[in-house]
């Protein structure tokens, strides 16, 4: 399903059906998934349809820009560095490229969303919440539903720290796809209450394709962040 498509697209599996077919003036884009059907007439002329995963914080409504991943508690000794793999939910963006301009055509997800609150109602932030397991090697997941987060957690404190959640800012997310959808992140713990999370812009491996980010497609300028400072604890 992921990739760039010039003339025609026909993709169908048990969960989703996508097609962009027709000729001349009426080239139709049709997507059906989860009981929802979207139909749009594409513009005349040459238009490329691009399908790739996007930052998973936009559906069902743009309520937040933060992704919170909860996982079983990990105990980190002082100054320890630990690399592990988590999962995160995916949203799939369908873009239309005409004359070098990319715009959002459709957005959907095969994973039901759940929101949470990180911090207090007065000072915290709403997050898109996801429960993940922890694996030492990249887990096998449905690549249309879940991505793999390769995260390195560093305990910079002089004491033992227990960590069971990470909050990432979608404005600094960079997703790559190939056999699976991958994001490479880091979490530096400064205290049991404060940690910095970042997502690397580098490709996890040479054969992966970079996803078009939604904020880039929507031409939102200068939103590249330097990660997110978690100020309300790591457990």
């Amino acid at each position: 399903m992921f990739g760039r498509f010039g003339e025609e697209i026909r993709y169908t599996d048990s969960d989703v059906s996508i097609s962009a077919t027709g000729s001349g003036e009426l080239r139709r884009y049709i997507r059906a998934s989860g009981g929802q059907r979207v139909e749009k007439i594409l513009p005349e002329g040459l238009a490329t349809v691009i399908i790739n995963p996007v930052e998973p914080v936009n559906l069902p409504e743009p309520v937040t820009r933060y992704l919170e991943i909860s996982f079983p508690a990990v105990v980190l000794p002082a100054k320890a560095v630990r690399r592990m793999y988590l999962t995160f939910p995916l949203e799939i963006g369908v873009f239309l490229e005409t004359g070098g301009v990319i715009s959002v055509l459709d957005l959907f997800s095969l994973v039901p969303a759940k929101y949470s609150l990180y911090g207090s109602p007065g000072a915290g932030a709403i997050t898109r919440w996801h429960q993940s397991g922890i694996t030492k090697n990249p887990p096998v997941v449905d690549r249309y539903r879940y991505g793999i987060l390769d995260v390195t957690i560093t305990n910079t404190t002089p004491g033992i720290v227990e960590v069971s959640r990470a909050v990432f800012d979608s404005n600094s997310m960079h997703l790559w796809y190939g056999e699976s959808v991958v994001m490479t992140g880091a979490m530096d713990i400064y205290s049991p209450m404060i940690a910095q999370t970042t997502v690397s812009e580098m490709a996890p491996s040479g054969d992966m394709t970079r996803c078009i980010e939604l904020y880039a497609a929507r031409s939102i300028p200068s939103v590249h962040g330097r990660g997110h400072l978690m100020e309300f604890g790591v457990t």
């Binding site: 309520v63 937040t64 039901p112 759940k114 929101y115 609150l117 109602p121 007065g122 709403i126």
Partner: protein, 300 residues
């Protein structure tokens, strides 16, 4: 009658205009042409300076300050600049002994003092609301008995669009003097619902069913976790209270009934499927000549 020397202002050529400007002749009261032109020039300069200041402030702060706040302060600054220009130049006219100008100024002061008292009160209330940041455009608020989304907070009035789609304009004075509930101030809000079940029903099971529905609902927050507990043993039912937190930004764009209609029918259907009923109000009447002991009859 104002003695106006028209030929002094609209001279036939530039030379005569300069000559007439430099003359001691008065064109308004006993203000000289130079003093009148200084007054007009100062107003014009203040106006242009206000435009430049607005341009600079928008470029400098538009990404840091909310747009409605920035617009408010820009308007305020521009009014201040014009007033400053008036304050600087009017005394010169006074020095010139212009009775007419003095009369106009005194008249304006009188208007402000008597008719404009409410206007000044609203202006001060507007500034206080803006400084206090009780709410901003886009927030969902209740002010007095008006509930809706704030469209704008201006110098004198506040506009609110109610959930019925009616735009209500409130004077800032009344906004300031009424209790303000801002549902947008915090990122999450809590809703409370009560559901009654029969006395013979399995309470832990009913709580588990309701908790499951809340867990599956997208906008019921995972944390703070929803609470489901027996709140009351009523005359006809065991009352179960549901407390659920939802994102304010989601809840505030809707009427409160939306969450109710999303949750309560699901709760009712799920309880009914599990054989748990929601009882009608009922009263059991026992007559004194009956031999059955009401305490041991097991009706509850």
């Amino acid at each position: 009658m104002i003695p106006l020397n028209v030929s002094a202002v609209f001279g036939s050529d530039a030379g005569s205009l300069v000559t007439s400007l430099q003359s001691d002749e008065n064109i308004v009261g006993n203000a000289s042409p130079v003093e009148v032109l200084t007054f007009c020039g100062a107003i014009l300069v203040a106006y242009i300076a206000g435009l430049f200041a607005a341009y600079y402030l928008k470029r400098r702060f538009s990404h840091k300050i909310r747009r409605d706040h920035l617009d408010f302060w820009i308007r305020f600054l521009r009014v201040l600049l014009i007033l400053a220009a008036v304050a600087v130049t009017v005394p010169q006219l006074f020095d010139a002994g212009s009775v007419v100008i003095a009369g106009i100024v005194i008249g304006l002061i009188a208007i402000f003092a008597f008719a404009g008292q409410k206007v000044v009160t609203n202006l001060v209330a507007g500034l206080s609301l803006m400084y206090g940041r009780q709410f901003s455009a886009g927030d969902f608020v209740t002010i007095g008995n008006v509930t809706g989304t704030v469209i704008s907070l201006d110098l004198f009035t506040t506009c609110i669009r109610t959930t019925e789609g009616v735009t209500v304009t409130l004077p800032n004075d009344s906004v300031y003097n009424n209790p303000i509930s801002n549902y947008h101030a915090d990122v999450a809000r809590r809703y409370v619902y009560d559901v009654g079940i029969r006395y013979r029903d399995d309470i832990p099971r009913a709580i588990a069913i309701i908790t499951g529905i809340l867990d599956r609902h997208t906008f019921v927050l995972k944390s703070p976790a929803p609470e489901v507990f027996v709140s009351d043993l009523g005359p006809s039912s065991v009352n179960i209270r549901i407390r659920a937190w939802v994102p304010s930004v989601w809840a505030n764009t809707r009427d409160d009934s939306v969450l109710k209609t999303a949750l309560l029918p699901q709760v009712k259907c799920a309880l009914a499927e599990a054989g748990i009923g929601i009882p009608f109000p009922q009263t059991t009447v026992w007559f004194g000549d009956k031999t059955v002991d009401p305490e041991s009859s097991g009706t509850r």
